[in-house]
Every structure is written in structure tokens, then in C-alpha cells.
Subunit: 113 residues, 2 copies
């Protein structure tokens, strides 16, 4: 199952799912942290907010949550390290965008149909 | 976004993704634990093993991991509580099977294309 090999590159056309061929221990070590990053309600909402638009300034993300800016930054860092979002600083603020190839690869991994 | 409403019922035809309409705080509280359950390498492998066959006896799962039977049971319980697998005891052993409607609903949630 070379799914995430391609997915975390750029080409997510390989669609071998969990139900097609069991993930190896090595693949699981690489893929699980991506699910873990989405496994927190705040991070899931952040990922969803970011995914719904071309890009989002951290200054637009922060007001949506009743959390300190440090906590917000920490969650965004987790999403970035998992490869779910990418970011770039422009002046004062960091701007985030989704990496659709990663979401689509996860989607393909989970699909059983 | 009524995705998981339907998904965790039976009909996963509603395909509104993260990227289509942001999840609400309430939806995130319900969905995140499912991702969290998959966010551990051992549980991800277990889910994948179970998904790859019609059903699997715990006595076939245990030998695949260098873990105590208590730890194995704990991970399986987490997958069951998240709704990813279902199970039934038959005699000495518990048998597990995947809930494809849940995997397919998560898949639909993540798909951006």
C-alpha cells in the first residue's frame, strides 16, 4: 500500500484503502499522527475552517475560539507538522491553507466502497 | 453539515466535506474522537486488519502485536466506542468486524475533490 508514499508527495491517485490491504507497522507509524492531529475538536474545526477557504490569516482563526493565542498557535503547529496545513508569514501574521492532497489521500485510505 | 448524523446511522450518502462547510463545535466534539481512535499506530493497524476481512476473532488479532491481551482489549474497546468496529462474543472469543458506513462517512468528510 503505497498510498501515503504518494499522498504526502503530491500524487494521490493511488487508492488502496485500509480495507483493501492492511497497513504495515511502518505505514501506521506515519499515518496515525495525521489522524491524531484531526482527533481533537479544536484542531478539527481549525482544519475545516482553513479547508473551506483558499487561505486564512491566523488573525481570522483566533477570534473563532475562546483560547489563548499560544494555544491556538500550538494547535496550528500540530496541524502543520502533520502535513494537513501549510503556512507562510506575511508581515505581522501567518497565513494558513489546507493541503488538499493530504485530505484526499486520507479520504482514499478510509473509503471502503 | 449532517454528515455524521447520517453516517453514524446507516445512510452515508450525504457528502458534505470539511472543505465544503466548516464543522460546528458540536459536530467536532462528535467526530474528533473517531479520528483520535485512528490516531494511534496500533489501533490503525487493528482497524485495517479488521477492515480487510469480513470479520476477525480476537485470537487472530492478538498474535499480530507484541502487546499484552489487556492492552489489545483496551485498543479494541476504543475502536468499538468510536463506532469504527462492532463485535460479538461467540463462546470463548470476541469477533470483530468493521463498520464500513463509518469509514465511508469519514472518507466523505475528508474528500475535497
Amino acid at each position: 500500500m503505497e498510498l501515503l508514499e504518494s499522498a504526502l508527495g503530491a500524487d494521490a491517485t493511488a487508492r488502496c484503502g485500509l480495507a483493501t490491504s492492511p497497513v504495515t507497522a511502518q505505514e501506521a507509524e506515519r499515518i496515525a499522527p495525521i489522524f491524531k492531529a484531526l482527533g481533537d475538536p479544536v484542531r478539527l474545526r481549525m482544519a475545516s475552517m482553513i479547508a473551506a477557504v483558499p487561505e486564512l490569516c491566523v488573525c481570522e482563526i483566533t477570534p473563532a475560539f475562546d483560547l489563548s493565542s499560544g494555544t491556538i498557535s500550538h494547535h496550528l503547529k500540530t496541524l502543520r507538522e502533520a502535513g494537513i496545513v501549510a503556512c507562510e508569514r506575511r508581515g505581522t501574521y501567518v497565513h494558513y491553507w489546507i493541503r488538499p492532497e493530504v485530505l484526499d489521500a486520507l479520504s482514499g485510505l478510509l473509503a471502503t466502497a
